[in-house]
């Protein structure tokens, strides 16, 4: 790897925050995320109050909220044990992250390549650095961008929750929050690679967005893909919900493989196309 790699990577990370579009999506995402988080916190606070009056425990609360529905269906005691010990707010925010963030990732990355080809800004770089470096640094820059956005959103929500929810152990909530956030990054990296891949196939950024968003939607509803990539009822996502390292490794492995697959297809196309 040449010495230009860190320079390019730094620029790609900073460049993400220079775009008005990125800032707009970031504000929009943070607003929606925090709004949903506040909603969950508010609901939980009210229901907790009622539960306390009726003498219902934390374990029963989580089950009552229905987040262990799939786990119960699977009859997996480990999953149930894990879920009932996770603070409700962590589960809620994690589900919001994996359901909502792929869309944000698409919106931030659909034009990562297409826009620069369209604008001609890549041309001042292409004779100075390799295409491989360009593609890799763009991908890594997007991962960092995604990680920062989701981390900031999560921390805001958790701090707010700690003020609003009586008896919430902030240390435990933060630990679970970071765990889910880290795992979520592996899941989201699939969508970063996916969006970038689409960005290499179309000359017009808008076309890339429309096709990419359509395929993303299809991924979420098509039976075959549901098992793998849709955050709804996914087969492999259950690995995230209990302390079985083998199952977790399998889950993460599947997502890493998808990331590599999409990345390689995108890279293959980027390396051979005329810019």
């Amino acid at each position: 790897m040449q010495h230009t790699f860190p320079i390019l990577l730094k620029d790609q990370i900073l460049n993400s925050w220079r775009s008005k579009k990125a800032v707009l999506f970031l504000i929009l995402y943070l607003s929606v995320f925090l709004l949903l988080a506040l909603g969950f916190i508010h609901i939980q606070a009210r229901i907790l109050e009622q539960f306390e009056q009726q003498g219902i425990t934390q374990t029963q609360q989580n089950l009552a909220f229905g987040f262990a529905k799939n786990a119960l269906r699977s009859q997996n005691n480990q999953v149930i044990d894990f879920l009932i010990n996770v603070p409700f707010i962590n589960l809620a925010l994690f589900l919001v992250t994996i359901f909502g963030t792929p869309l944000l990732v698409m919106l931030l990355n659909y034009d990562k390549i297409a826009q620069e080809v369209y604008d001609g800004t890549l041309r001042y770089l292409l004779f100075r650095v390799s295409r491989f470096q360009l593609y890799l640094t763009k991908f890594l820059g997007s991962l960092v961008e995604c990680a920062l956005i989701t981390l900031v959103a999560l921390l805001f929500a958790l701090v707010w929750a700690s003020f609003q929810l009586k008896g919430l152990d902030f240390g435990v909530t933060l630990a679970y929050g970071i765990r889910f956030w880290a795992i979520g990054q592996v899941f989201l990296s699939v969508f970063v690679a996916f969006a970038m891949m689409f960005s290499t196939f179309f000359k017009k950024p808008f076309t890339a967005l429309i096709v990419g968003a359509t395929v993303l939607f299809l991924l979420f509803i098509l039976p075959f893909w549901i098992d793998y990539l849709s955050p709804y009822d996914v087969k492999y996502l259950t690995g995230l919900f209990y302390n079985n390292s083998l199952e977790l490794a399998e889950t993460l492995g599947v997502y890493v493989l998808f990331t590599i697959l999409f990345w390689l297809i995108g890279w293959w196309n980027f390396s051979r196309k005329d810019l």
């Binding site: 010495h3 230009t4 320079i7 390019l8 620029d11 460049n15 220079r18 604008d119 001609g120 800004t121 041309r123 001042y124 770089l125 292409l126 004779f127 100075r128 650095v129 295409r131 051979r272 196309k273 005329d274 810019l275």
Partner: protein
């Protein structure tokens, strides 16, 4: 001969259309190589392949030394100061960290934009934007510069400044400049390459193309029958165009110098009491260009 850049049979297809049909170039070290062609001839595609923007279907190229490009349709990032963008590009051009600021300022000075470093490129005039494009190509002091239509769309003063800059740069560098402005190319280039419909139609020294060492035109009044000029060992061809009243003489430079031919013909015309309005050495580049481009098409 020592070449800075050579290409061998570059071929490029876009779907069914073949843009380059085997382009071979031989660019000598230092000096200006004028790459001429009408719009769509294949100049930008050739530059694109050399710069790595475009993948050739076949063919190879070899360069000796570092290469930098001013692409025709490239854009700087919006909302970022010109100097900052140059510093970033300098970093990618292997300029040491402590020298990047200086390097950005140096190239800005070189193109006459020393006081515009704080301006975002999109706020610059078209001429300034072009010069900034040349400035980025100068970062890191490359050996070979490819300038794709650097004066297209510029006012005469800006175009003159760029031509002057190119001439200065060509003292120590190899500059390949593409253009369809024949006058401009003939002013600054020592070597010419003419591309048409994806094929090289000519490549060689400017004098060879314009025949400055083997052809003289005498603009005369009144008319003269060329037969009255007589025969000389060095005389290859003599023609007279009645509509323009131009007597053209082609000669073998190995048998007679330009001065000898001039003197001989002038004396002869004087003897026949024919006045000379103007003497033009060689063929205008435009004429040679059209001849090369048109002949093959049967135009």
């Amino acid at each position: 001969m020592d070449y800075a850049l050579t290409t061998d049979m570059l071929v490029k297809h876009y779907g069914r259309k073949t843009t380059l049909q085997g382009v071979s170039m031989h660019v000598p070290r230092t000096g200006v190589y004028g790459f001429l062609g009408v719009n769509g001839a294949g100049k930008t595609t050739t530059f694109g392949i050399l710069a790595g923007f475009i993948k050739a279907n076949s063919g190879t190229f070899v360069r000796s030394g570092t290469l930098s490009v001013m692409p025709q349709d490239a854009r700087f990032f919006r909302g970022r100061k010109a100097a900052n963008q140059l510093e970033f590009l300098a970093a990618l051009s292997s300029v040491a960290p402590q020298l990047r600021k200086k390097e950005a300022l140096r190239v800005l000075e070189q193109v006459g934009l020393a006081d515009k470093g704080h301006v975002s490129p999109e706020k610059m005039s078209h001429g300034m934007y072009k010069r900034l494009g040349i400035a980025q190509a100068l970062l890191g002091n490359p050996d070979i510069l490819l300038l794709d239509e650097p004066t297209a769309g510029l006012d005469p003063e800006s175009a003159f400044q760029i031509r002057t800059l190119v001439t200065e740069l060509a003292v120590s560098k190899t500059v390949v400049i593409s253009s369809h402005n024949l006058h401009e190319i003939s002013e600054i280039s020592q070597t010419i390459g003419i591309i048409h419909e994806g094929r090289m139609r000519f490549e060689g020294p400017l004098e060879e193309l314009t025949k400055t060492g083997s052809r003289v035109e005498f603009h005369i009044t009144p008319s003269l029958d060329p037969a009255r000029i007589g025969e000389y060992p060095w005389l290859l061809e003599k023609t007279y165009a009645a509509d323009t009243q131009v007597l053209s003489v082609s000669f073998d430079p190995e048998q007679a110098s330009l001065e000898e031919v001039n003197w001989t013909i002038s004396e002869l015309l004087h003897r026949h009491q024919v006045g000379v309005r103007q003497i033009v050495v060689g063929t205008p580049l435009e004429e040679s260009f059209l001849e090369l481009v048109g002949k093959k098409e049967g135009v």
